[in-house]
Symmetry: C2
Subunit: 347 residues, 2 copies
Amino acid sequence: MRGMEWNGREIRILDQTRLPRREVWLTLSTTAQIARAITGMRIRGAPALGIIGAYGVAQAALRSKAKTTLGVFRDAEKAGAVLAFTRPTAVNLAWAINRTLDAGRAVVESADRDAIVKTLAEEANFIAEEDARACDAIARVGQEFVVPGARVLTHCNTGLLCTGGSGTALGVIRLAHESGKDIKVLATETRPLLQGARLTAWELGTLGVPHALIPDSAGPALLSRGEVDVVIVGADRIAANGDVANKIGTYSLALAAREAGVPFVVAAPVSTIDLAVPSGDLIPVEERSPDEVLSVLGTRVAPVGTGAVNPAFDVTPARFVTAIVTERGVVRPPFAESLRALVQPSS
Amino acid sequence: MRGMEWNGREIRILDQTRLPRREVWLTLSTTAQIARAITGMRIRGAPALGIIGAYGVAQAALRSKAKTTLGVFRDAEKAGAVLAFTRPTAVNLAWAINRTLDAGRAVVESADRDAIVKTLAEEANFIAEEDARACDAIARVGQEFVVPGARVLTHCNTGLLCTGGSGTALGVIRLAHESGKDIKVLATETRPLLQGARLTAWELGTLGVPHALIPDSAGPALLSRGEVDVVIVGADRIAANGDVANKIGTYSLALAAREAGVPFVVAAPVSTIDLAVPSGDLIPVEERSPDEVLSVLGTRVAPVGTGAVNPAFDVTPARFVTAIVTERGVVRPPFAESLRALVQPSS
């Protein structure tokens, strides 16, 4: 079960806005189609955005009508520029696009038309495979935070639909379950787009993990009542100081976890760490359409004339983060030092 | 505009589950009908529950087929017992029922059949009128917490629909607007039943108060971003030590307000204060049906097989509460002393 496929020519995605009621696969043949699928949240999740961005660059080269190798590469660059701006917060998108283009740039003067396409496609495939391996490693590394019988609270969706593998936070949860740890999961419904209610519940159900949905606002209250042993979430971007941008609502869970003395763990691949951004207040936070709040499942809830404020993400200060679980190991405070050592081990 | 009427014989309520799309008035002629309307959230809000409980007692006496005054009073008591258990958290319900029955009990030995009915109905009317006056006083008293230009965050619905007057927290907001303070309101949508999106937005729109809806989980994030000047909420029960039970999600707002150094103000009538409950952990918190979370507006969101945890309220510790605004004035920490002095001024 995957949420995205690349057959060497076209990208196919499982439309995440239709789940769990319908499993609809979309074929994306052009950069514009990919961009619309991303902005429309048909595909989402930081690692998955990176992978589709890389495939989008490769596909643009493949479909380029340019006669020269450089012309093909320029078309790939143009696609990358379009896709990199579709969503501003997750750093994985720009990271994967740049990495794919860098691979192409390294051979553009020596390669022919076919070779540049092949290089870009190979790099995109490699990014996808690397993410799948990263998920497996994150799942293993994260086990130290899940004791047998743990009641685990998670937020939004961080599983196979939004990574190249079994997920980040949900990968940790999945492995804990498969290891026989007898865990129970509390999953936030994750308004406004209900990724928790629609996607996380669906993945947990498929995997047979005992779980219950909660309204987002109940998470902090359940923490205060002593009903949660650990909070595990993903991340869209981690600043150099350890501040974490993630789905709106993460901040309130981190705050309540600290108040309750419960570990707050972030599970994310190294590609999510952005050392170029010193602190969380400099991470761009996407403001999405008010319609997502004013309507639910396509039915208008709020009266005509009412507007909405709809930030897609919030920033959790590093001081509330117990640990960051990556494929290279656990990172702990002080994060400024530990994150730099993790990302740039040679320096 | 009112959300409830009593014509001396029948109770009529504006069905809060149908707003804002439709304004449907329901006539409640029996105790069973009232109980179903309360459990089905067709009428809600702590003060309004008290008022309908009192009217329910009076109506049961009026409709009693008993031949004796005592028999009529016993039927009123039975109705009170049924209604008092419909929702456990808001103390106003049991408070108003007991107060109405106490008024009847005081005359039951001397009164005839008509007189006991009249006594109960008068007490119920008096409770409603008193609540309307309390709302006006709360609105005035609360003005010290709303500076001109303030950005006010509120939660759930605390206006005319759920009180006998202009509301508690929303009454403060309304008077601030009508006083020309040029305020802006951020209203949480209030999952699972969306009282903010459906009712608060409707009331604010009707009153012409500038406002925007936010997902519940965005409230703490907006507080952390410095976009809120004051949080004002209502209460369903206030313990003797100042702990506040209120709509689920209140706790996370209080926690974030403290973290941001923003005042967190509770507006509630004195009838909400329950000195018999020493602290918040002893307040019964109603757990409502998982269906409220699993479905939105009647459409199932979560996959089959997924359950939900759905506490209707949470408890905010007194240490996060800046002040409690009542019709008798502002109560400040230490609450154990100030609440006792407010409720029992003679002792």
